[in-house]
Point group: C2
């Protein structure tokens, strides 16, 4: 269109207006689907839009409207399977709703660092979704200034969230409870637990569920081992458990931990499930292919991400339907790594 031949900045609504022989306000009406536009002029405008390859400038839209169709997800890490899947789910739902999605990584749980990240995310202008499975995330959720639309992806909460700050979660407590009961039902005297870090001062939902099942069964309650998030921590915990001949069943806070425990048990010459049963949490993609394949709990992380977005969407636009309380139900997946205790 211009002399140099390249479309710098592409066409604006004024260009379209000129091409269609109308005012740019009318162009605005057309792209916003206002009913009050004569059919013939609408068609002329649409033709001009098409011809010029006009795309409405999102930045100008956001400035004029005072809000942007954007959501940014705050997370401690994008490479952990669960976190990555939640992000994937948010993106799917956001894309379908015409929202853009940003990511902010919480590299440290340090108060000041978290605050800075939350501010940056707030500057993006849209809503926030914070993954609050770890201290950094929990702190971020707390640091979100009042009035900013936010939904938290959290561990099973002790009480229902208050209305203006919705949360989504999967019922981890119930899942841990069920898995522990399953292991107990196999004949194990008790079940040991290797924990992921608690997101708060309180013990985690998974730990709670495990403890409840053990107590209800009147089984001895061994102190949970702290395993961190990755296989290295699971390996260290597994080495410790392997030294105790009374250990016959181990529930782990996630599949990575379970992998480390499996490896430690192997190194210690303790066959799984012959001598020790091991169960994980998450059903990561590789867990079905381990040897032995891992008994675990399947969590619908992408569904969780979609639910988080749906909820936020509802807050952001009154017109959008607010999702019902979005608690998805985890599913037990029994594989080779668990079985009856040794005779």
């Amino acid at each position: 269109m211009n002399v140099t031949g390249h479309t710098r900045g592409s066409a604006s609504i004024r260009d379209v207006a000129a091409a269609a022989g109308v005012s740019y306000q009318t162009v605005s009406r057309v792209i916003n689907g206002h009913a009050s536009v004569k059919q013939s002029t609408r068609e002329r405008v649409l033709a001009a839009i098409d011809e010029l390859g006009f795309r409405r400038n999102a930045t100008a839209l956001a400035l004029a409207r005072g809000r942007s169709r954007a959501v940014t997800v705050l997370t401690a890490n994008t490479t952990h399977y669960g976190y990555a899947s939640i992000l994937q789910g948010v993106e799917e739902a956001a894309r379908a709703a015409g929202y853009s999605v940003g990511v902010g990584v919480l590299e440290s749980a340090d108060e000041a660092a978290v605050t800075v990240e939350v501010q940056r995310a707030a500057d993006a202008g849209g809503g926030l979704i914070v993954i609050a499975y770890d201290p950094a995330g929990v702190r971020a959720l707390e640091a979100v200034p009042a009035g900013l639309p936010v939904v938290g992806v959290v561990e099973t909460p002790a009480s229902d969230p208050t209305g203006d700050r919705p949360w989504v979660w999967t019922d981890d407590r119930k899942a841990a409870y069920e898995m522990t009961r399953h292991l107990l039902s196999l004949g194990h005297e008790t079940v040991h637990y290797v924990a992921i870090p608690s997101s708060t001062r309180r013990t985690s939902a998974r730990t709670d569920g495990w403890r409840q099942a053990v107590q209800e069964a009147g089984a001895p309650e061994p102190p949970p081992l702290q395993g961190g998030w990755g296989p290295a921590g699971g390996h260290a915990a597994g080495l410790e458990l392997a030294r105790d001949p009374s250990v016959t069943a181990v529930l782990c806070g996630n599949d990575d931990l379970a992998l480390g425990v499996l490896r430690a048990l192997h190194e210690a010459g303790r066959p799984v499930p012959g001598e020790v049963s091991v169960a994980g949490f998450d059903d990561a993609p590789h867990s079905a292919y381990l040897t032995p394949s891992l008994t675990t709990v399947r969590l619908d992380f992408t569904g969780l991400g979609r639910a988080a977005f749906a909820l936020l969407h509802g807050v952001l636009e009154e017109s959008a339907p607010v999702a019902p309380r979005p608690v998805s139900v985890p599913e037990l997946v029994v594989r080779e790594s668990s079985g009856r205790p040794p005779a």
Copy 2:
């Protein structure tokens, strides 16, 4: 500040100006660090900014400046370890540079769908980083309109990229070559290959490297098996390979594939590395903890992400230093899954 007591939309530069008793243009000068502001008025403005908790509106900034400090990464999937790590690396570097990062997931490799996604990403207003390891990504890279700043994260290219469309990559071809040579040096007659999908019509860089090493050694060159991306495909390929007693060494296009192969070999009663050696690619976090632990190639994906951002940053701001050709060198990690062939 206002009657209802809540800070709706927070303070603008006009509010700050009023509080400091200057014009809002002067506030603009202060926040942009212009030298020509009297020390005393600068201090008054700064004090007002602090007091009102002013944060410059990023949307308005972007509109006024005509460009935004934003980068969006286009990727086929956020849950694959490599992809997630690249995203993580981009985010790290972007955050350090004060850029926001968006993600767009390419759910389909369909031409039209890809084009829509690229458009959406372009609408965000900043630069683009596209992960072009798969057909969807490759197509997205091609669909980026001229003039839009973009860098591609690609497989080892056959030729150097042209100047205005920089690429980053790790030297996969060399890595596959080295790993194959390593396996051959152990005494294997040849090395079989289970491939990840090629990103283009051509064969992948990893396949090329493997083939070159096999040919140079004068070893028989078995046809590569197609494994897809995940363990399921590796499992299927592994089952096939297990039936051939002459197979003693298998190189896999990634660690997930290797995991599936390992599992298949186990099911077929073929001990690793006793009868068959297996090697992967990527060094995913779980690979060191498998039993047997996996021999693989370590790739610096987050470094790749950081390099991609650095390059884009250089394109976006002439002031920013342009990174040197960012080819990182993969590293062989020899673990338990590889060894000498059976006697």
